[in-house]
């Protein structure tokens, strides 16, 4: 009787949520796998099964190669800028914990991570603007010739890395700060008694102790980097929105194939590639974590 009531509650409460979850998460994930092996033009009732043909075609598609290359460069670029910088900043901010400015530091580093992506990207678009932007004007003071930041294929990728790092930094600093606060102070006292300088205790105590968190932040940053889209959309389209000037990234290429070229199966195959990248990164993270656990 009593357990009946509990069973009824569990079913009644959970069923709607699980139904929604299945419909907006589980089913679409399975469906994208299914679609990737079909050819479908969005309208036709006919959806022939074509096995791995979409993936074979992707492997020879120059636009997809370009997208994959750009996206990979951006993701790893953001990683290499963000993670070391964030660790140093977190350590510096932590060292000023008692200071009245500590809250200000945390908030201002974190703010770019919170604000809407499009206006923030617009601010950087103005900064990078070749004619009106302050970046070229500032470089001009040092005798550097103005550059067309957003029109050069290499420079525009650099600009995207700057924008994405600026946004990702706050998250990484916050997570590292939590990690550093949880480290036992006795380690630092021991290091100090052994005559370690602040820099040494950062390199030989903080960094090794934070390894799992570094790993976590790295994977989150990489995954976010592989999903970059809005930043590229805003930053790398010129005033007339000429598509030729876009930095092609994976999500953009996928949406273009799906909704502009009406090749849904092909777009789904690209989504599956994105999924495989993310799964591989996650597997590496867990693999490295397990390594560490085994040694301890």
């Amino acid at each position: 009787m009593k357990s009946n009531a509990r069973l009824l509650f569990v079913i009644g409460a959970l069923l709607p949520t699980l139904a929604i979850y299945g419909w907006v998460r589980v089913y679409p994930i399975l469906d994208v796998l299914n679609l990737s092996m079909h050819e479908w033009n969005l309208i036709s009732k006919n959806r022939p099964f074509i096995g791995f043909d979409n993936f074979v075609e992707l492997s020879g598609d120059p636009l997809f190669h370009e997208a994959l290359r750009n996206t990979t460069v951006i993701a790893f670029g953001v990683l290499f800028v963000t993670v070391p910088l964030a660790m140093v900043l977190a350590a510096l901010i932590h060292s000023r914990t008692g200071s009245r400015l500590a809250g200000f530091y945390e908030t201002s580093v974190f703010l770019p991570h919170v604000v809407s992506l499009v206006p923030a990207a617009m601010a950087w678009k103005w900064i990078f603007d070749a004619r009106l932007g302050p970046l070229n004007a500032a470089l001009g003071l040092f005798g550097v010739a103005p550059k067309a930041w957003l029109f050069d294929p290499v420079l525009s990728v650099v600009c995207l890395i700057v924008l994405c790092s600026w946004q990702a930094l706050g998250f990484a600093v916050l997570i590292f700060l939590v990690g550093i606060k949880n480290l036992p102070t006795s380690l630092y006292e021991a290091a100090r008694l052994d005559g370690a300088t602040a820099v040494q205790s950062f390199l030989y105590v903080t960094v090794p102790m934070l390894k799992p968190i570094i790993l976590y932040v790295s994977v989150v940053t990489l995954v976010a980097g592989f999903n970059v889209y809005g930043q590229a959309f805003v930053l790398a389209s010129d005033a007339q929105g000429a598509p030729g000037q876009l930095v092609r990234v994976l999500v953009l290429d996928m949406l273009e194939n799906g909704f502009r070229n009406y090749r849904v199966g092909y777009a789904a195959a690209e989504a599956v590639v994105l999924l495989l990248v993310v799964l591989a990164l996650t597997a590496i993270q867990f693999g490295l974590l397990r390594d560490k656990g085994a040694r301890a």
Binding site: A5, R6, L8, F9, V10, A13, L14, T17, L18, I20, Y21, W23, V24, Y27, P28, I29, D31, L89, A91, L92, S95, R96, S99, L101, L111, P112, V114, V115, S116, V118, P119, A120, M122, A123, W126, L132, P134, A137, W166, L169, L174, L183, T185, Y188, E189, A198, V217, F226, N227, Y229, A239, V251, M254, V264, A271, L274, L275, V278, L279, L289
Partner: protein, 286 residues
């Protein structure tokens, strides 16, 4: 230098110099982080020649509201703001409801089948939204909800991390004895959930709510494909398309961006603690 001082002695001159240098460096970093946003907002109040002046000033020479007037008459910006607000509020409500129910059940009614279901939820959490948004689009299309706020909402009804967060909090902070005592007193399961569990979860639900709101407010790729009529744009989509249009008027673009930016900065500064708490726990989920 991450260690707290060993005792209460006064800082040596050397330590004070290090602290001063650290502050100077950190203030410079903060300037780089904040200046793009500050200058954008300030550009919104500047006249065209003032915007082009070098070096860019933080305070406009003669502040003007012309840019705002122009942009509000050029674009349905207020309509887009309303769409985004409604979408974000509905999404927050949906995520808080689904997460608290599912998190509570997964925490307190442990059984093999439920543990398996929870495992599936954790596994799908790894998959980024961008991977499955095309099939999800067809779900919305099948319901005839394209170009509506409800259609947008379909993508943001649940949050795997939310379910996980509430489950952890229920396990950590709500003892079984409390629930058993209520049952002995004759309380029904629904009453226990609504009257005992939910009030005890106020803290984590606040943090989750802020996260959910900002997640929807800043969503881009999904609204970009689901809302394709000028009437149904969210503010992010509207702004992104407006800035690729033929207007290169920097003042107007900045004004439009400032209108979008200022509410989210205000909300963030009011709810900073919940937000930081939510993001911080998301990092410790392993």
């Amino acid at each position: 230098m991450t260690a707290a001082p060993l005792d209460d002695r006064r800082p040596t001159p050397r330590e004070r110099a290090v602290a001063l240098a650290t502050d100077a460096l950190l203030l410079a970093v903060c300037a780089v982080m904040l200046l793009p946003l500050v200058l954008l907002v300030s550009n919104a109040f500047k006249t065209p020649p003032d915007i082009l002046r070098w070096p860019p000033a933080i305070f406009p020479r003669e502040a003007t509201l012309d840019n705002f007037r122009a942009v509000l008459s050029d674009t349905p910006l207020l309509r887009w703001l309303w769409n985004s607000t409604l979408f974000a509020l509905l999404s927050t409500a949906a995520i808080l409801t689904t997460s608290s129910i599912a998190g509570y059940v997964f925490a307190k009614f442990r059984s093999m089948p439920l543990d398996i279901v929870f495992g599936v939820i954790l596994a799908t959490a790894i998959v980024p939204f961008e991977v499955y948004m095309i099939p999800l689009y067809f779900n919305v299309q099948a319901l005839g909800l394209l170009n509506t706020t409800w259609g947008l909402l379909v993508g943001y009804l649940v949050m795997s991390f939310g379910i996980f967060l509430i489950r952890q909090n229920v396990i950590a902070s709500i003892p079984d004895e409390l629930l058993e005592a209520a049952r002995v007193d004759g309380a029904g399961e629904t009453w226990i959930f609504v009257r005992i569990v939910v009030p005890l979860l106020r803290g984590p639900l606040g943090a989750l709510g802020v996260l959910a709101f900002f997640q929807a407010w800043t969503a881009f790729a999904w609204p970009m494909i689901v809302a394709t009529t000028k009437e149904s744009y969210t503010v992010e989509v509207g702004l992104a398309l407006f800035q690729t249009g033929f207007t290169v008027d920097l003042g107007r673009l900045s004004a439009a961006a400032a209108v979008v930016l200022l509410p989210s900065i205000t909300v963030f500064s009011l709810l900073r603690r919940q937000f930081v708490q939510g993001v911080a726990t998301s990092g410790l989920k392993d």
